[in-house]
Symmetry: C2
């Protein structure tokens, strides 16, 4: 899935949540992918003591047009009154609920090499509700070690641990050559959301979401502007 | 800049390269951002011994429509003949040249905490032509240490080093609170491309590009599908 990157592909749509107040249209994936950024900006505004914000001001913060913001939010419900702006706290709370961010998610990591260790020690996940509760390796020299407080498990324990620890999300930090195989194992365990750090695009069934974290692609999308 | 994320914003356009063979339209930023993925897939095809590929097949690999691929490439020139498909090697070479990837780029890192060290040891940059040649810190306890073969410099040396080492790209791995300040310092040194690992959106002048690497946002854009 390139959906995290190919956001221009607005044709990808998903079922509207049953509790949404909006009309019967579906929510494009590109809109879902923008919402976490709305929430982040709204949280900053709350920290700064801002109670109400117009789509104009919100657009400036997010560097998108106010029309885009109104359109995105219109998929999800009614969050403001014409000319009155949005209540920052209410909008943040509602968006978090829509995205399922008002709860904790158990995450597992597959691949505890150099990159995997950096991911295990990354301080940004837990405060946002994502906790890596299990880590797996195939390398027998690493299995059994305790790293960042986790006992590294052999990959054979994946299925049992995912079930027992109610793990919903998998993070992959394995070499490219085995990424597809690991993705398959995760999906066979019922994992439906995968964060992939391997620089390849694994194929997944339609009900599984993959987001790719790939700093090289980001660098390569800027050099054009340095040479032109 | 949220352009790395807000790829739906197709209105962002850039000047067409002077040496392009295409018509006089500008190349949307969303297209530029997709090209590195085209190149990556084309390289895999080359490794697999594939000489020619149709837009249909290329689309399947990239999980976009063949029409999207033809449209994207039409901004840049003529790369295939109707019904004949694309020559994989030629297309890869041309796209690399258009993106400025047929050369080496010198990169500096600002922030050598836990995340910065992981970035310094990340093995994926150099093979793609991006070499971190300098690293900067404000913490006096870290300045002067040698990490991943680099002597960590005080931030005060940034300007001089950027000039002397012909550094074009900056990577930021500093706390959110100081990210905007670091971005300003980098742009004042003439840096026009920034890869930002801090979970904030720095404001930059229009001629400067920023891409944000943010695994939490990626996770948050998948949970919607787990709860709905």
């Amino acid at each position: 899935m390139l959906s995290a990157i190919f956001l221009g592909k607005e044709t990808q749509t998903v079922a509207r949540p049953a509790n949404s107040q909006s009309n019967s249209t579906e929510v494009p994936e590109v809109v879902i992918t923008r919402l976490p950024q709305y929430i982040r900006v709204l949280n900053s505004l709350l920290d700064a003591g801002v109670d109400v914000i117009s789509s104009q001001q919100l657009g400036e913060q997010l560097q998108v047009t106010p029309a885009q913001i109104r359109k995105d939010l219109s998929y999800l419900g009614r969050f403001g009154k014409q000319g009155r702006g949005y209540n920052v706290s209410y909008l943040a709370t509602e968006l978090k609920q829509i995205l399922g961010l008002n709860r904790r998610w158990n995450v597992c990591l597959v691949g505890v090499g150099r990159l995997g260790r950096a991911i295990l020690s990354y301080p940004g996940f837990v405060p946002e509700g994502f906790e890596i509760v299990a880590a797996f390796e195939t390398d027998a020299a690493i299995v059994g070690q305790t790293i960042s407080g986790l006992r590294i498990q052999p990959i054979e324990e994946l299925d049992r641990t995912v079930t027992r620890q109610n793990i919903s999300i998998g993070i992959i930090a394995v070499p490219s050559a085995v990424a597809q195989k690991v993705v398959r194992r995760l999906t066979e365990c019922g994992i439906k959301a995968i964060l992939n750090y391997a620089p390849v695009y694994p194929q997944v069934p339609p009900q599984v979401k993959v987001r790719n974290v790939d700093p090289v692609l980001s660098l390569q999308s800027m050099t054009y502007y340095l040479v032109n």
